[in-house]
């Protein structure tokens, strides 16, 4: 499958209030191509609640229910139950949330909905920050990254949300990246075909949040995967299968590129390079990434 083979259907219609180069909009555009118009979205507070545009207009061509920050998965549970009662169980319920609404404030409602086997798709577009509120740290923010609340760089490593999701033993989970639209499309399509709770996380490099040029969104995504800072995989029947470049890195068929190749293009890490290179912290990031990959190899090879 190539990009040209994606359906022509567009559910993101003109009038979107997204920043230029926005990865969330790109990810949602592909997602809705895969889900089609028989979809209802539940959106908590996140960039998408701005992107969808101002009342009384909308830039989305599917029904959308906005809901409070921590409530996406619970709100979606209600929508799903109501649809089922009305004989509309074939409509896909999509909770579409950022990493703040997923890793942090919304994790309880998400865990509850997964445990209850709610028949819905929860997608987290992960730009590794609270971007809608102006770039504050989240549980997904990587170590040493500048945010407005980690001015000298974050002092902790990000949590592994994927592993938390797997602990719920749901029928399907996946990690994708906006730089690989065909892969994202296939994963969303597969999620749509499976009953029960599905979770997909999309790496979403954010130009204003990460401080890189708006034309480099896709490149930053590709580099996130090639450096091993992000992984592409599917989780099905309690088994994790890496795919794309992540599979090659896992199997040591290619070397992961140094993280430095990725972070040096992002203004949020500029304090690691200027005025003097912070070799210690860069090494810590590389070492931590190696440790993660060693764990992946032990678990998934």
């Amino acid at each position: 499958m190539a990009i040209k083979d994606l359906p022509e259907l567009e559910c993101i219609i003109p009038g979107s209030a997204a920043c230029p180069g926005c990865p969330a909009t790109l990810g949602l555009r592909i997602t809705l191509k895969a889900l089609g118009k028989n979809t209802i979205m539940v959106v908590p507070a996140c960039c998408t609640s701005v992107i969808e545009s101002l009342y009384p207009h909308t830039s989305f061509d599917v029904p959308v229910m906005n809901i409070a920050f921590e409530a996406a998965a619970a709100g979606a549970s209600g929508v799903e139950a109501a649809l089922r009662k009305q004989g509309k169980g074939d409509t896909t319920v999509l909770a579409w949330a950022g990493d703040g609404g997923t890793y942090d404030i919304g994790i309880q409602a998400l865990s509850g909905a997964l445990e209850r086997q709610t028949n819905f798709i929860y997608i987290c577009y992960n730009n590794q920050i609270y971007s809608n509120t102006g770039i504050q740290r989240s549980g997904a923010t990587p170590y040493a990254a500048w945010t407005t609340t980690t001015v000298g760089g974050k002092t902790e490593f990000r949590k592994e949300m994927g592993e938390i999701i797997q602990a719920h033993h749901i029928p399907y989970a996946a990690q994708a990246c906006v730089a690989y639209p065909e892969d994202l499309y296939k994963k969303v399509k597969k999620a749509k075909s499976i009953k029960g709770p599905k979770y997909i996380e999309i790496m979403a490099p954010c130009p204003p949040g990460w401080r890189f040029g708006m034309e480099k969104t896709v490149e930053m995504g590709t580099m996130a995967v090639e450096t091993g800072a992000w992984t592409l995989y599917e989780y099905e029947n309690d088994e994790v299968t890496f795919n794309g470049k992540s599979k090659l890195i896992l199997e040591k068929k290619i070397e992961r590129k140094p993280i430095e190749d990725w972070i040096k293009y992002q203004g949020r890490f500029s304090h690691l390079f200027k005025p003097k290179k912070d070799v210690k912290r860069i090494k810590e990031i590389e070492k931590h990434t190696d440790q993660i990959w060693e764990r992946y190899r032990k678990c998934y090879l």
């Binding site: 118009k37 028989n38 979809t39 209802i40 539940v42 609640s49 701005v50 969808e52 545009s53 101002l54 009342y55 009384p56 909308t58 989305f60 061509d61 599917v62 029904p63 959308v64 229910m65 906005n66 809901i67 409070a68 921590e70 409530a71 998965a73 619970a74 709100g75 979606a76 549970s77 209600g78 929508v79 799903e80 139950a81 109501a82 649809l83 089922r84 009662k85 009305q86 409509t91 309880q108 409602a109 865990s111 509850g112 445990e115 209850r116």
Partner: protein
């Protein structure tokens, strides 16, 4: 019609199930637990045919009700005390989204320290969320009000959620007889819910997106207008209920022996029921005191209270305290009279933390006022002070 002798919670569960909601989402909390257990029993027996979502918190209970109601179905839940407080954000959300969710709240004390007895501070602290608030004084009234509340909430002139409050244990866990109409009679009174709008893939609308001040202001004004509409509808619905089922608990207020009264007592919830006994005894002993039991705290019965204030001096019992001001009912009553009536208003803060308030206590408070010994606002029966 059958007679059911059971607790307030089980009777509320019966009413909720007879209203045929499509979705119930709830989380257990003492003393609401037997309400959700009651509904779970009806799931098992097949009498409840809706979806029952056992969520992981009250915040999610209200969020799931919001999702279900927005998707176009009748929705019910129940909670109490800390559970209601955890819902707070979503109470606002439900009301602003104009979703006709119906909920029972069992009035329970807020911690610390942990205390499961009754007072009204939980629901009083939610008064500005846009929810209609009823306060019941018997299990029969709980049953009737739950059914009536769906009619009220779902009326296109209202479209506001409704909270039915009743006292922990005094009502929630005390068995009393209640007349239960046949299902077909309930179905005749409460038709199937037809939402004015809903999440619909055939009509893709975005609900609740960013809104500029001028439009937002209109939404708030419309809520206020709708609450005023509810004031007119509550008596109409009560009248229709009376005609169909022969029972009447009052409109926004329930007046009891107020004719020729020089003093009128105002109370809510179970103290309202206790007060009827007190009024009987006081009138037997020559005191010209009547009772107006306040059933709706929101919308607040301003006009009715003003009428009472033109007839008599008012004695208020508050089982709540708005710290920094005083009893919540007292301050609302005074605001209703301001500039339009010279009635004196006395307040007793009583029964806080679940302390029992008997009809003897109510008589003592009333006599203290008549004998000129009461202060404007005092705490009744405070020990060791």
């Amino acid at each position: 019609m059958t007679i059911m002798i059971d607790t307030g919670n089980y009777i509320a569960a019966k009413a909720a199930v007879m209203a045929k909601p499509d979705v119930v989402a709830a989380y257990p909390i003492t003393p609401q637990t037997t309400l959700v257990e009651g509904i779970a029993n009806y799931v098992k027996s097949g009498e409840f045919k809706g979806e029952y979502i056992c969520v992981e918190s009250e915040h999610s209970a209200m969020s799931a009700c919001i999702g279900a109601s927005a998707a176009g179905v009748r929705t019910f839940t129940g909670t109490s005390s800390h559970g209601l407080l955890l819902m707070h954000e979503m109470l606002h959300w439900a009301a602003l989204a104009r979703l006709p969710i119906v909920m029972c709240n069992i009035n329970r004390v807020i911690g610390p320290g942990w205390n499961i007895w009754t007072d009204e501070n939980d629901s009083i602290s939610q008064r500005d969320t846009g929810w209609i608030q009823f306060y019941c004084s018997s299990n029969q009234e709980i049953f009737d009000t739950v059914i009536q509340s769906f009619r009220l909430a779902e009326n296109e002139k209202v479209l506001l959620p409704v909270m039915i409050n009743y006292n922990a244990f005094i009502l929630s866990h005390t068995s009393m007889p209640a007349e239960i109409p046949e299902q077909k009679e309930i179905d005749g009174f409460l038709q199937k819910y037809k939402p004015k709008w809903k999440l619909d893939v055939k009509n893709p609308i975005t609900f609740g997106n960013i809104i500029l001040p001028a439009d937002y202001e209109k939404i708030r004004k419309d809520m206020q207008n709708s609450s005023e509409n509810a004031k007119k509808l509550i008596p109409e619905i009560a009248k229709e209920w009376k005609k169909k089922f022969g029972r009447y608990h009052g409109d926004l207020i329930e007046k009891y022996k107020c004719e020729n009264a020089d003093y009128i007592l105002l109370a809510m919830g179970a103290i309202g029921a206790e007060s009827k006994v007190a009024i009987d005894n006081l009138q037997k002993n020559g005191f010209k005191i009547g009772l107006a039991r306040v059933r709706t705290f929101r919308p607040f019965p301003r006009e009715e209270i003003l009428k009472l204030g033109k007839q008599a001096d008012l004695i208020v019992i508050d089982r709540n305290i708005s710290v920094g001001l005083g009893g919540a009912l007292f301050s609302e009553v005074k605001a209703s009279l301001y500039g339009k009536s010279d009635a004196k208003v006395y307040d007793f803060i009583a029964g806080i933390g679940g302390k029992d308030v008997t009809y003897n206590d109510v008589e003592t408070m009333c006599k203290k006022v008549v004998e000129g010994k009461a202060k404007d606002c005092e705490w009744y029966g405070l020990e060791g002070v």
